[in-house]
Symmetry: C2
């Protein structure tokens, strides 16, 4: 393969350029003509579809249903919850014309659906019998990105799901917030092989309009934190302005308790950054649409038929074991070219079948996550493939976990803090007095903010890292995407 076609920079030398090349050259995305927008190409779409299937199944099992709300929200509706509106206003796209006519009231392109959904919830919910209302929307949201954009991480339109639930009691809403976060954690750690820290956001960093926000935070190999998903307790902040009331069992009217939560295609960005290497993408087997690619090798005419036969037999066996397999039988490309192409596309396991393998009754397996190529007897090849896929999944997670651990630095004072942020990045584990003054000034001086207040109560080990007053909580600071 031509050097120019492969990735031309090393991951640890120019991370940002490496990332751009991987997303483009592995054909996950392309840039669209409107600035800040990307096109999700088929190879990227199937990854999103896999994530979608997982989440869709899990939420349906717990009683949630899907619905679709319009992409356009009248300005008056968006304004109904004041903080929420103020938070989103800088990035809202506005429709002001339809054909050659001016529209009456400006229409916002959905930056998120709280307001338009809750306008309906107030009509649909009448009695306790209508609760809980557990809805989810698969759609895209549009937020004009003013800062620099980055595929999957920061775009003016992104694919996501947004859950919006209404409950009779505060307790139930709180439980929903946590259950969803747990589901996201399983998805991200077990399927995507990316470890997360979970906890709550500070007042400053919470979702505009929420009582509190719970979050999943990961650290990327360049030492920047990435918010992977959030689950918000909205309390009655929206049910009051939107008048979402129900007649309780007690014959009294009550406002509902609400939650909202979402993950987006940003998760694909995390997979790329976390697992990719100098050859390109590396996909965790559980998320890969092609887990095994078979490259038939036949340089001589007489080898073609026996190789094809052997390939066919092996494909059947793999499919019987629910392994997602693809045979690359393209002509006009050499096996070597194909090796590189599938390495770039991150397929976890490559199988080579050539005349020598047939003679020796073997099959050759090459792992994507390690420089390791083995030959195994064809009778045990399918079992070996299953075992290797499992091993690759675990290995990717272990590597990512090691990286996460290396990127958590215990910090005692602010001199150390500044040095660590400058030299190494990552999560700085430090004590905090709970004052937003300190949080703001740290952000201003270092660019780092509090990513997460961990659920797990960690013992305070000293005074506030900034003001030296009493440390009340151990929190994780980081600079982030």
């Amino acid at each position: 393969m031509n050097k120019e076609i492969g990735i031309t920079v090393k991951k640890d030398q120019d991370f940002s350029e490496w990332y751009s090349q991987v997303v483009l050259k592995s054909e996950l995305i392309d840039y669209a003509s409107a600035k800040g927008f990307i096109i999700l190409r088929p190879y990227g779409y199937v990854i999103w579809d896999t994530i979608k299937e997982y989440v869709d199944k899990k939420i349906k099992e717990t009683g949630h249903q899907n619905a679709y709300f319009p992409a356009l929200i009248p300005e008056g509706l968006l304004k109904k919850e004041g903080d929420h509106f103020e938070g989103f206003i800088p990035e809202v796209f506005w429709v002001t014309q339809a054909g050659n006519r001016k529209v009456g009231e400006r229409l916002a392109l959905r930056p998120t659906s709280e307001t338009i959904a809750y306008d309906s919830y107030s009509k649909w919910i009448r009695s306790w019998r209508d609760l809980p209302l557990l809805l989810n929307f698969w759609n895209t949201v549009m937020r004009a990105e003013i800062k620099s954009t980055k595929p999957f991480i920061r775009n003016s339109e992104f694919l996501w799901q947004e859950g919006h639930t209404a409950h009779a009691t505060e307790e139930e809403a709180k439980k929903e917030v946590r259950n969803i976060l747990e589901m996201y954690k399983k998805l991200i750690e077990e399927e995507l092989a990316v470890p997360v820290l979970t906890g709550t956001k500070t007042e400053k960093e919470k979702f505009v309009g929420a009582i509190y926000t719970t979050t999943l935070e990961s650290i990327m190999p360049d030492g920047l934190a990435l918010q992977m998903g959030t689950s918000h307790n909205l309390g009655q902040n929206f049910s009051k302005p939107f008048e979402i009331k129900f007649l309780g069992n007690d014959k009294q009217e009550h406002f509902v308790w609400q939650t909202s939560w979402g993950v987006s295609w940003r998760l694909i960005g995390a997979i790329i950054m976390m697992h990719g290497d100098d050859k390109g993408l590396v996909l965790p087997p559980r998320i890969a649409s092609i887990q095994v690619v078979i490259i038939p090798i036949h340089y001589k005419e007489q080898d073609i038929i026996p190789v094809r036969k052997k390939v066919k037999e092996f494909v059947i066996k793999l499919k019987q074991n629910n392994i997602k397999v693809y045979v690359d039988d393209r002509k006009h490309y050499t096996p070597g070219w194909k090796f590189h192409d599938w390495e770039m596309k991150g397929v976890p396991l490559r199988v080579e079948i050539g005349p020598r393998d047939i003679r020796k009754e073997e099959i050759t397996l090459a792992r994507r996550d390690k420089e390791e190529k083995i030959s195994v007897n064809e009778n045990i090849a399918v079992d070996k493939v299953s075992i290797l896929l499992e091993e690759i999944q675990n290995n990717l997670f272990d590597n990512a976990k090691r990286l996460q651990n290396e990127f958590i630095t215990k910090i005692e004072d602010f001199v150390e803090f500044k040095k660590a942020i400058k030299n190494k990045g990552g999560f700085l584990r430090a004590n905090w007095c709970l004052e937003s003054k300190c949080e703001n000034e740290i952000k201003e001086e270092t660019g780092a903010d509090i990513r997460v207040i961990p659920f797990r109560n960690e013992d305070v080990f000293g005074p506030c890292v900034y003001c030296r007053k009493e440390g009340k909580k151990v929190v994780y600071f980081a600079k982030s995407y």
Copy 2:
């Protein structure tokens, strides 16, 4: 059930009001706050999901892949194919502001994706090895409706799929156009139980930018035609302005040949209109998310446990036979109320299980499509359910087919034509000279246009219905939605 909660008008007395009540009261949709937009509620969403699954499976089997393109298209791109742009301009929503800033070039909300997709196709396609390119997008499109709106039939935003393919030869593109139309026909007739006429559109009625458009047309019970889906041969009309070229096997550069095609949630509208009755929705079993609803009947305390046990056993058996079953065990609602509720929601088959059924080792089955209630021995009940579901599917199609036949009127002259359009509506089967002058004048005088020139060559039976010159084709006129 309270009369006001049920449908309060008869289908054959006020079709339009009946339709509005059914879509709202069966909770398929609700109106959104922005005029012309609707909300797809969970019960409507699952119907769309079923249609989506069907189409997605079929197109994947024939090598198509999904992708996602942005919702916003720069004006310059939309203008690139002149006819196309002129056709869509009256209904395009325009984004002119982002936050408090004016956007440079106006951005159109996607009314369809030809232009934005083909801009990328010109980059992705280089050689004959890149062909055919067979992509599909599941998304929504936005077209400001200036005429009156109607849920599912005419809205300012609708869910659909749009396929966009590029081929090396004209022959291949033509074949794709027909194969897709065939797939749609199977979906609509076999799953939705709605018969269609298939053929091509006239020059006047074709898709703006196409060489020709093939179409599926159905007649609704009010005598108006509904376009169910279209599949377009774009020829090289887009590949030339967008410069989508490939290096052929012959070492020469060629422009690709293209197709585009789509069906939308309008299909749900057709199901409602075609099969619904005075009690509400009637869903064909193959498209119903709930095929069988079980209503446990226990007025006395001592009946609860045995009834629950029997219900549970029957549910297991139905699920083993892949029958989609739902048990309505809501308290605080009487069985009678539930009967009406599920009738309104159009569930094909209702099962009642009460103490008397248990005593007699029977199960009671009530069809939604007929006033027919039978009791069968519990040993054959599952088989009977399967048979009845099949019968209901066929019965709905047969009724719809009869309606279609009754609505096809052979017309010899224009006096007859005007009378038929005024009194009865439906398809008027008539001879046409192929002149658009006649087509236009008929439209002006009667409101009817040529819905379809049938694929099946029907023998001309006289002169042009309007100008009395030589009749060249038998075509189907109708007024339409």
